[in-house]
């Protein structure tokens, strides 16, 4: 009895010592999310990326995350806390974390930071984003073909380049296949407020929209589309559960490969501050299964466009294109450069309304 307990104690002590040694080698990775991981949209996919990191490195990595972190001072506090508790790499996954990330990074030069969708970098701050506009081009094409009322409702979050780019890209390709198409854009000034997003979807549907696109993170617009019997596109994640018949397809953000490669770089000591902007080709932008509601020829066109964007044969912003005020932007055969796209603050010709300042 006594011997047994001594042995157990010794085994426990050994085990503790072993796990203590392990903890030294573990790479600690922190994630902060703007919404709950259960939003089944933007934050959900980032969390899937985190789980992929755990899967890939098993015991040699430890991940921590904090969800629903407001953009602003709170984000700074959360990141500081993560850095203080020994994180080696921190992913801040929303545009509004840009300045907080740089502030915290300046205080912790040994900690690496990765900021999603931003444009400010430092020696220990990388930025990464996906070319969502490539996905928007494809769903814009489908929307133009599918709308019967020639009205597409677009629920937009904040007037930042990423969102404006998406509106432009979707509109250009809807217009190309349907010259009569009209986009109604509603700005809700939030990434995540289901009640407001639902009200916005209702307002758009009441005004004749029969296709809904969203650039917000909750599944509420999809739920409303299903309820009203119209069609919609999922955003950031497959939202089929919320709109089994309504969802035509969804743009899926697949962060997993990027997260795994960046964590690997930190482990190998090869991490450098970089600017990554990947699209359909490396798989950062993917699509949910296309619904049967999309006619075969439209589906074939959409798939062809995906292939062409993948191979580089087609750029969603190809001239001739004019700005909303009619001034020339891209000449025939010209494509938009990344700098202009990254700072896009204008509508293309044909879109109604003004971008709120």
């Amino acid at each position: 009895m006594k011997l047994h307990s001594i042995l157990t104690g010794a085994a426990l002590a050994l085990g503790l010592a072993a796990s203590g040694a392990m903890a030294q080698d573990k790479t600690k990775v922190g994630f902060i999310y703007v919404g709950p991981v259960g939003d089944f949209g933007w934050s959900y996919e980032h969390n899937e990326g985190r789980l992929a990191v755990e899967e890939a490195f098993g015991d040699s990595v430890e991940t921590v995350f904090q969800e629903s972190v407001p953009e602003g001072a709170d984000a700074e506090r959360v990141m500081t806390q993560m850095a203080l508790s020994g994180a080696d790499l921190i992913f801040s996954t929303s545009f509004g974390y840009m300045d907080p990330t740089l502030n915290v990074a300046a205080k912790f030069p040994d900690v690496k930071f990765e900021h999603a969708t931003g444009f400010k970098r430092a020696d220990n701050v990388s930025t990464y984003s996906a070319r969502f506009y490539e996905g928007r081009a494809v769903i814009g094409h489908i929307a133009g073909k599918m709308t019967e009322t020639n009205t597409v409702g677009y629920i937009a979050s904040f007037p930042i380049p990423e969102v404006i780019r998406g509106i432009n890209s979707a509109y250009i390709h809807a217009k190309k296949v349907n010259p009569d198409v009209e986009f109604k854009v509603v700005w809700v000034y939030t990434w995540f407020d289901p009640a407001k997003e639902a009200d916005a979807a209702n307002a758009l549907i009441e005004q004749g929209a029969d296709v809904i696109m969203q650039h917000t993170d909750s599944t509420a617009p999809m739920t409303i589309a299903e309820e009203k019997g119209i069609v919609a596109f999922g955003q950031a994640s497959d939202m089929k559960n919320f709109g089994p018949t309504a969802q035509l397809t969804a743009i899926i953000d697949d962060w997993a490969p990027y997260y795994v490669s960046r964590v690997k770089a930190v482990m190998d000591g090869t991490w450098e501050s970089t600017d990554t902007w990947d699209g359909i080709e490396p798989g950062m932008v993917a699509f949910a299964e296309m619904s049967d509601k999309i006619p075969a020829d439209v589906r074939a066109e959409a798939e062809q466009m995906i292939e062409d964007i993948k191979s580089g044969a087609y750029h969603p912003f190809s001239g001739p294109l004019n700005k909303q005020d009619g001034s020339a932007w891209l000449a025939e055969g010209e494509t938009a450069d990344d700098g202009t796209l990254a700072g896009m603050n204008f509508y293309v010709e044909g879109l109604e309304g003004e971008i709120p300042q």
């Binding site: 629903s68 509603v186 000034y189 407020d193 289901p194 909750s218 109604e352």
Partner: protein, 310 residues
């Protein structure tokens, strides 16, 4: 701007839906304040009702059970407030604010496993031929039961306060609790009942958000509706029918704001978004200017602590 693009009939119909949560919470708070208690925890009780209702409805697949659970949840939370302010005689303003903060956190905890789940469907009440009346049908007679319950509740509260002896007693307690006590009325018990009613109504209002208007559960989904409900009671100068008008006015502005945007109105979005709150402030300023009967309508004992020693 093309205002003809707005379908005014459906706008009116969605106005009734948008107004229902604040109408329910407002009419509950009106009764609480009529009894002389100021409960600032409406937001906390609403959000608790939202998760209780969603969870119960999801697990039983019954909207009725959901709403019943929401009312029970809101009432249970309000009893914490009741115990603190009526028995332990804490400050009502501070306790109410604490109740809101507590409710927001507590609901997030309860809701952990309900995030991202699709809710149940709440169908409209079949009103037969009424629903087919042109113009009036789509606006008034194609809603779910809670919309009508809310309106019936306003009527009942009005009748209760105006015509019944119990209503008179409740008002007496709210005007002068010492006199009511001297007459032999149980001030604390009457107030606890009022607080419980207010909690149940707030819970119903919250559940209407998570079961009908969105319909899904999300942390913090009431997004300030509780505060609007509180302002609504003052706006209505403690009169039930004015709560109804106020709720439709506030709900209407919210919906109209989004509709104007969709119609391409060239008004800056920020002004549209803040318009319900600006109107609330203007109304409060006008009401508190001290002229007219409106300013005199507040229950005289509102927010004052009662102790039997007088």
């Amino acid at each position: 701007m093309d205002l003809s693009a707005i379908n005014w009939l459906t706008l009116l119909a969605s106005l009734m839906v948008a107004a229902t949560p604040i109408l329910l919470a407002g009419i509950g708070e009106l009764v609480v304040e009529k009894s002389g208690v100021l409960n600032l925890g409406v937001e906390g009780m609403m959000i608790t009702g939202a998760i209780c209702g969603f969870a119960a409805a999801y697990n039983t697949q019954s909207a009725f059970v959901g709403f019943a659970a929401a009312a029970a949840g809101g009432a249970a939370l309000s009893m914490i407030f009741g115990l603190m302010t009526q028995v332990l005689m804490s400050n009502q303003v501070a306790t109410g604010l604490a109740l809101t903060l507590f409710g927001l956190g507590f609901s997030a905890l309860l809701g952990q496993s309900y995030i991202g789940i699709k809710g149940i469907e709440v169908s409209a009440v079949p009103l037969g031929p009424l629903a087919d009346i042109p113009v009036l049908g789509p606006v008034l007679f194609q809603h779910d039961a809670v919309v009508y319950v809310a309106i019936a509740l306003v009527a009942s509260v009005w009748a209760f306060l105006k015509f019944t002896r119990a209503g008179l007693t409740l008002r007496a307690v709210g005007e002068n609790h010492d006199a009511a006590h001297a007459l032999g009325y149980k001030v604390v018990l009457i107030r606890l009942a009022a607080i419980g009613f207010g909690g149940a109504c707030a819970g119903l209002g919250g559940a209407y958000l998570s079961l009908v208007r969105v319909p899904q559960w999300t942390e913090g989904m009431t997004a300030g509706a509780g505060w609007i409900a509180l302002a609504l009671v003052v706006f209505a100068s403690w009169r039930p029918w004015r709560v109804l008008i106020g709720a439709y006015l506030f709900g209407g502005i919210t919906v109209l704001q989004l509709n104007l945007q969709a119609a391409g109105a060239k008004i800056p979005v920020e002004y549209l978004s803040m318009s319900p709150y600006v109107i609330t402030i203007i109304v409060l300023v006008v009401m508190s200017s001290g002229r007219g009967r409106a300013a005199l309508a507040a229950p005289a004992a509102l927010g004052r602590v009662f102790h039997k020693s007088g």
